[in-house]
């Protein structure tokens, strides 16, 4: 025990040791892609929010260009790629993930720069945004590959149960059609037993992620965004595989150890924040600057949303016995796309459960679906629940749209407000 303590001694202001293993896990993902090309195995691009599990179940290697776009941003390539896409005629106002991908493809970028190779086919869905569908339309046409898109009806604040049921039916029918599409394109058969195993792994991955999130309720919080922003990626790219489950278990154990010893991710935790939206991938270190104010982000709906199995109606039994129907239900009730009324309610509950002092909202110039409703959300949180929020305008992948000085000034003023509230 003493030896373990010595090697895994918790340190403040650092990511978990276990999170370092993420590099290996993601490395495996990229190697699997390379291997698929070497073996002539079918590959597919998939948008986030789409049922990646179905690809694994059909022995198709998934690639997620959004994930690759964040790699470009972190490696400081995204600005260049975005400008290449703009030179092709894509507007300054369009999604920076999309433009990063266009530029990366046109530059023939390698995977470490965020490049993505020509797939066998593409799978998109508008569950999160229209952009996903338009994006893959652009690139499927460029590569000349087939593209299947899942049309997900939109749940709004007054959608009835009656409507919800035929929405679900429509998605289910499309998922079965998608299986036929894959069988035709790849020649692979759909095997229920394999689908069940993949789904079980996906469920278990989600459960581990949720357990990690539960630990963040503790004061002080054992985990910061150093662990969650990167830790998110297996949920995107590898739901259905076993390796990331082990990683999350290790992350959980180490975080639990911190909790048991009363050690937080910050040396002195003063303010607990929620961050709504997608982070600035080109400036992830910026989030660490919050630490100098004693502020820590303890919840991000974005990273939590991708644990996927959040709808209490979707049980493990349902997931295993009716994976397609369960997937339809999940696509309709995805955290990231909650209608405004549910979004407000969920925020209020989260703030209470995770003991949050204030909310940072990213008005993301690239993600209008997510930005839409933020003003009303902010107003409701304050008027109905006395929760203060700050809206920051920036972009997830385009560094040209991030004014660091302005954002810092806003955050400092916000921290002062939190301080005054605490005094009073």
């Amino acid at each position: 025990m003493a030896t373990t303590e010595k090697t895994t001694k918790p340190q403040h202001n650092k990511m978990l040791n276990a999170t370092q293993g993420l590099k290996n896990i993601m490395g495996r993902h990229f190697l699997a892609i390379e291997q698929a090309y070497r073996d002539g195995k079918p590959t597919a691009w998939a948008t986030s929010g789409s049922p990646v599990e179905m690809l694994y179940a059909m022995d198709v290697q998934p690639m997620l260009p959004e994930n690759s776009a964040t790699v470009s941003a972190a490696q400081k390539y995204s600005k260049n790629f975005i400008e290449i896409a703009e030179a092709e005629g894509f507007s300054y106002d369009l999604c920076s993930y999309f433009k990063t991908n266009v530029g990366a493809v046109l530059s023939n970028a390698g995977m470490t720069e965020g490049g993505t190779r020509k797939p066998t086919f593409m799978l998109s869905t508008d569950v999160i945004c229209d952009t996903h569908v338009n994006w893959f339309q652009v690139q499927a046409e460029r590569f000349g590959v087939p593209h299947y898109s899942i049309d997900v009806p939109h749940v709004v604040s007054n959608t009835s149960n009656r409507q919800y049921n035929y929405f679900k039916k429509y998605i289910t029918e499309q998922l079965y059609e998608f299986i036929n599409f894959m069988q035709e394109v790849t020649g692979h058969e759909y095997e229920e037993e394999k689908a069940r195993k993949v789904t079980e792994n996906s469920w278990n991955l989600s459960e581990e992620w949720k357990r990690i999130y539960e630990l963040r309720k503790n004061v002080p919080c054992p985990i910061s965004t150093r662990d969650t922003f990167g830790g998110l990626f297996p949920l995107f790219c590898m739901p259905g595989l076993k390796a990331p489950i082990k990683l999350y278990k290790r992350m959980y154990r180490e975080a639990k150890e911190r909790v048991d010893k009363g050690i937080g991710a910050l040396k002195e935790e003063k303010y607990r924040l929620l961050f709504e939206g997608i982070p600035f991938w080109y400036a992830l270190k910026y989030f660490s600057t919050l630490e100098k104010y004693g502020a820590i982000i303890v919840y991000e709906p974005y990273t939590y949303a991708f644990s996927k199995y959040m709808n209490p109606k979707v049980t493990k039994e349902m997931v295993l016995s009716k994976p397609i129907e369960a997937m339809s239900e999940l696509m309709l009730s995805f955290w990231y796309i909650y209608d405004l009324k549910t979004r407000i309610k969920k925020f209020a509950e989260t703030v209470k459960d995770w003991k949050i002092d204030g909310v940072l909202m990213h008005e993301n110039l690239s993600c209008r679906p997510n930005s839409c409703g933020l003003y009303d959300l902010k107003r409701h949180l304050y008027d109905d629940f006395d929760i203060p929020s700050l809206i920051i305008t920036a972009d997830m992948n385009d560094p040209r749209k991030f004014n660091e000085t302005q954002v810092t000034n806003q955050i400092e003023s916000f921290i002062e407000i939190l301080e005054q509230r605490r005094k009073s």
């Binding site: 092709e88 005629g89 894509f90 507007s91 106002d93 369009l94 508008d126 945004c129 229209d130 952009t131 569908v133 338009n134 994006w135 339309q137 652009v138 046409e141 593209h147 898109s149 049309d151 009806p153 939109h154 709004v156 604040s157 007054n158 959608t159 009835s160 009656r162 409507q163 035929y166 929405f167 039916k169 429509y170 029918e173 499309q174 059609e177 209608d339 405004l340 009324k341 008005e363 110039l365 209008r368 679906p369 930005s371 839409c372 409703g373 933020l374 003003y375 009303d376 305008t393």
Partner: protein, 345 residues
């Protein structure tokens, strides 16, 4: 007469169902003379300017005969902003119609489910019965409107009616009670049949496409610069009267099919099929060029633009793309680009 306001970035709202409920379908249009100040308190200023304009009008107060709103799914804006409309407005009827993105058999079945739900909610809210026979009558009436508009539209290619006047007529057809619309269109058609004075006078025939332009003054500006909108593929245009609803099928099914079979908008999938219609129209009407206008932040049109540019280049048809802010001052700022294009073609 009670009206249902229609918030629709395309024209996929089934007016026949509203008419069969004894209500007047009334499509909401923007007002380029106002700034969306109140709407900006709800929606970021970097989001679609046209939808913010509609919300501004809704907050300030819409036509007093409007008793309900139906918003049809177009792009991300429509569904996300519908919740904000629910926040800001207090109508007894508020319906979000999930007009499907796709056009296949599954989408048709789904759309039929949603049209049935729309019908049921109208019946429940307004305590009316929407029978098949009422729907059939409404379809017949709408088909007459469509047929008249199609006939009048052809006078554009004879240079006997200006594009701007025709555009204003289509707008009226989307707001007035349909009996009035039929009178208005019949009268104008009879006049046009006798008309002889060509408006050609060196005007250059163009195909107008892009976001759903709803300000006829924009077309007036184009005319002043020497363009004649001989044809379009807009919601305030040919998409509204492209074809007729089949009168020999079950009414709701016929309505659903009608909307899924007409030319696709950039908000639907696969939107690249829009080009096939544009190509056909450009060739049929022998246009000198194509003008594609994106309202500021209109993502679907912005995504399609490079593809359309490439395809029109392959056809050797001059193509101009502009992004436009929804106010009349910005139109004049674009004059130089339009003039240069007029010179080029």
């Amino acid at each position: 007469m009670q009206k249902i306001g229609i918030f629709d970035s395309g024209v996929e709202t089934p007016e026949e169902i509203i008419m069969a409920a004894g209500l007047v379908p009334f499509r909401l249009f923007g007002d380029p003379t106002i700034e969306p100040e109140k709407a900006n308190e709800h929606i970021p200023p970097t989001h679609c300017i046209w939808t913010r304009n509609l919300l501004e009008q809704a907050i300030l107060g819409l036509d007093e005969d409007i008793v309900g709103i139906v918003s049809s799914h177009g792009c991300d804006r429509t569904n996300r902003e519908f919740d904000i409309w629910l926040e800001c407005l207090d109508y007894k009827f508020m319906y979000f119609l999930n007009a499907p993105r796709k056009r296949d058999d599954l989408a048709l079945k789904f759309f039929l489910d949603d049209l049935n739900e729309f019908k049921d909610q109208l019946q429940e809210t307004f305590k009316v019965e929407i029978s098949d026979s009422k729907l059939e009558k409404a379809i017949q009436k709408m088909n007459k409107v469509r047929a008249l508009l199609r006939e009048i539209s052809e006078f554009r290619s004879k240079y006997l009616i200006k594009g701007s006047e025709f555009h204003a007529l289509v707008k009226k057809a989307q707001q007035l009670p349909k009996n009035e619309v039929l009178d208005l269109l019949s009268t104008r058609l009879n006049e046009l049949k006798k008309a002889q004075n060509s408006l050609r006078d060196g005007m250059k025939p163009i195909l107008l496409t892009g976001s759903d332009i709803d300000d006829s003054e924009f077309l007036v500006l184009l005319e002043k610069l020497g363009f004649h909108v001989i044809i379009d593929d807009l919601g305030v245009g040919t998409k509204y009267f492209w074809d007729s609803v089949n009168e020999n099928e079950m009414p709701l099914e016929a309505i659903a099919k009608y909307h899924l079979e007409k030319p696709i908008h950039s908000t639907k999938f696969p939107s690249y099929e829009r080009f096939e219609v544009l190509e056909r129209l450009a060739k049929k009407y022998e246009v000198s060029g194509v003008i594609n206008v994106a309202q500021k932040f209109c993502e679907p049109v912005l995504y399609d633009h490079p593809y359309l540019k490439k395809k029109f280049k392959e056809l050797d048809i001059p193509y101009l793309f502009v992004e436009m802010t929804y106010n009349r001052e910005s139109y004049s700022q674009l004059s130089t680009r339009f003039s240069a294009f007029a010179e080029m073609i």
